[in-house]
């Protein structure tokens, strides 16, 4: 056993290897976020997984977030959507977040399933719920919602689908319209 190679700083390492890729580095509450340019995400993931001293070998999560504000626009964010890839290094006991901004009019990102096959379902879920497509994904069917569903429920402009809450003053009104099943 020669011991574990010295841990590298992920931000500096990715900057050195893929100079185009890193757009920004954010630190918040001890978590590091690398903002990666959209075309480079697969290369960055592969680099982070395979480099000595980084070894982010486990994909914890891929989440999507929609920055749409209630009155339109997305504040000071560059694009409407973002993907957050959460990587875990089991060798160095640390985590890293890669963030990719995705524009509203062209929501396509390359799939990372060649790097981690487990990303398959995580990406399918995002494609279903957020409407971000993944180029080269092996199974682009809907995951959660029925196949004939319209829209992507987790987008901020998708209504919650609220029904009026029943109180004693409006119970008759609601009961009249409720489609009760007959035999």
């Amino acid at each position: 056993m020669t011991g574990i190679p010295q841990a590298l700083d992920p931000a500096a390492a990715v900057r050195a290897a893929l100079p185009e890729a890193v757009q920004d580095v954010i630190e918040f509450r001890g978590e590091t976020t690398l903002v990666i340019a959209r075309p480079h995400i697969v290369a960055a993931c592969r680099f982070l997984r395979d480099t000595r001293g980084l070894v982010y070998n486990y994909l914890s999560d891929i989440s999507a977030v929609d920055y749409l504000e209630p009155y339109g626009g997305w504040g000071d964010r560059p694009e409407r959507f973002a993907l957050a890839y959460h990587l875990l290094s089991m060798l160095y006991f640390r985590r890293l977040r890669l963030k990719v901004y995705v524009p509203e009019d062209d929501p396509v990102v390359d799939t990372v399933t060649p790097v981690w096959p487990g990303a398959n379902w995580l990406e399918r879920e995002i494609a279903d719920m957020m409407g971000i497509r993944f180029a080269g994904h092996p199974d682009p069917r809907r995951l959660m919602m029925p196949e004939d569903w319209n829209g992507h429920p987790h987008r901020r402009d998708y209504p919650l689908g609220y029904e009026t809450i029943m109180f004693s003053f409006n119970v008759d009104e609601i009961m009249k319209h409720k489609p009760f099943a007959k035999e």
Binding site: E31, D61, S63, A84, F93, P117, G118, R156
Partner: protein, 419 residues
């Protein structure tokens, strides 16, 4: 006539579907050489409402396509419309066999986002709750898994012991299953006086019961025949597919977030992480059984360490409501109380990520604030989700009867998967 049209429509629908499956099932399915079989969503051994589309060559599984979403409840979307404290009640209902783990993950995320402290005593109470949850969940798993494989009595024994834990939860939180006991900043209320004696009683009573289960199953030739060498996951495959928890440890990888990246003071407890060797159904069974013993060990230590008196939640009034007793005396307390229960607290427009070890594996929360009192996005990555995603690799080449054993051994909860 009407029947004929209905049938034709059905056939047409089915043919539409089968084209979609091109590339997912083998080419032989299109020539009719292999059979496509639908299993679920109403099937007694899929642990809920999982639907699996199987391609079968005789009894052998050629490919397997799980279909989830029959329990998709939109919890993540609902959370975006609730204040942070109200969200906690929704987290219970995702993984309903381990409600406290889900509470815990969410509360840790909120605490990280707003930078809230948790007193030592509250952390110990949380550990007690979490470990009881682990035993509770493993008991349900053992009972149903054994039931699926034909061992009825284990189910009855497991549920007998489970009632004991549910009673304790009821003492603790007033609810048997949906406890919502862990809240941002600590726990909901102090431990009631009758809880600790009950816990001690349980710790006396429970370990011999684990021996009983082992007597029934561990060396039982029928059990061994049905589980050994079935559903093997190689360690590399497990990592690549995001398998976690006991299923990962069954494959021989010593990875437990309680040890590796401790939270809530887990580094102060002395316990082992059971690891399997072969990665088959039997090893996963052994790992979970041993985990129950380790949980008992942790519970003993936690019970010994728990101070009799002390704060059970943070004193930071901006995030944690004041105790009732203060409301009659302090105007400030009344204001805080009112603010917190009407509007809630605000969190910065930032993102945090927290992962903890639930009984099923790594459950992680991605929480993004808005700067206001509601989250912009909550995303749970749940172990069941990843495990069902990995089901196709685990089942390849097995018999259809083994599918039941494999589904049972990865301990899935569909509420956890679909959210």
């Amino acid at each position: 006539m009407a029947i004929a049209t209905a049938k034709n429509e059905q056939v047409a629908r089915w043919e539409g579907n089968i084209e979609e499956l091109r590339g997912l099932v083998s080419e032989r399915a299109f020539t009719g050489e292999t059979m496509l079989l639908n299993m679920g969503p109403h099937h007694p051994s899929t642990h809920g409402v999982l639907r699996v589309l199987l391609e079968l060559d005789g009894e052998q599984i050629v490919s397997c396509l799980p279909d989830v979403g029959y329990l998709h409840t939109g919890i993540e979307k609902n959370m975006e419309h609730k204040t942070y404290e109200k969200c906690v009640t929704l987290t219970d209902r995702m993984d309903y066999l381990a409600p406290m783990s889900n509470n815990m993950a969410f509360c840790l995320a909120v605490e990280k986002l707003v930078d809230l402290d948790v007193p030592e005593r509250a952390q110990i109470i949380r550990v007690i709750g979490l470990e009881l949850t682990r035993i509770n969940s493993h008991l349900v798993w053992l009972g149903t898994h054994a039931l699926d494989l034909g061992a009825m009595s284990v189910f009855l024994y497991c549920f007998r012991e489970r009632e004991y834990i549910l009673e304790m939860f009821e003492i603790l939180s007033g609810q048997r299953m949906m406890t919502s006991y862990i809240r941002p900043g600590g726990v909901w209320r102090d431990i009631p006086p009758e809880f600790m004696p009950k816990l001690q009683q349980f710790l006396e009573y429970f370990p011999p019961r684990i021996d009983d289960y082992e007597k029934l199953l561990t060396n039982n030739p029928l059990w061994i025949d049905r589980t050994q060498g079935i559903g093997i996951i190689e360690p590399e495959t497990a990592l690549a597919w995001g398998v976690s928890g006991p299923s990962l440890r069954g494959s021989g990888i010593n990875w437990d977030l309680r040890k590796a990246m401790p939270y809530s003071g887990y580094e102060q407890y002395d316990f082992d992480v059971p690891v399997g060797e072969h990665g088959d159904v039997y090893d996963r069974f052994l790992v979970r059984i041993r985990e129950m013993r380790e949980s008992v060990k942790i519970l003993r230590q936690a019970a010994a360490r728990l101070p009799a008196k002390g704060p059970f939640r943070s004193n930071n009034r901006k995030f944690v409501p004041p105790p009732r007793s203060e409301l009659g005396q302090s105007m400030e307390a009344v204001i805080h109380h009112f603010k917190l229960w009407t509007e809630g607290f605000s969190a910065p427009d930032q993102e945090v990520f927290v992962a903890i070890e639930s009984p099923r594996g790594e459950v992680s929360v991605y929480l993004h604030g808005t700067g206001g009192n509601r989250p912009r996005r909550v995303h749970y990555k749940t172990p069941s989700f990843m495990h069902i995603g990995a089901l196709p690799v685990m089942t390849q080449g097995h018999l259809i009867a083994d599918l039941v054993a494999i589904i049972g051994s990865i301990d899935i909860v569909l509420g956890d998967c679909d959210r």
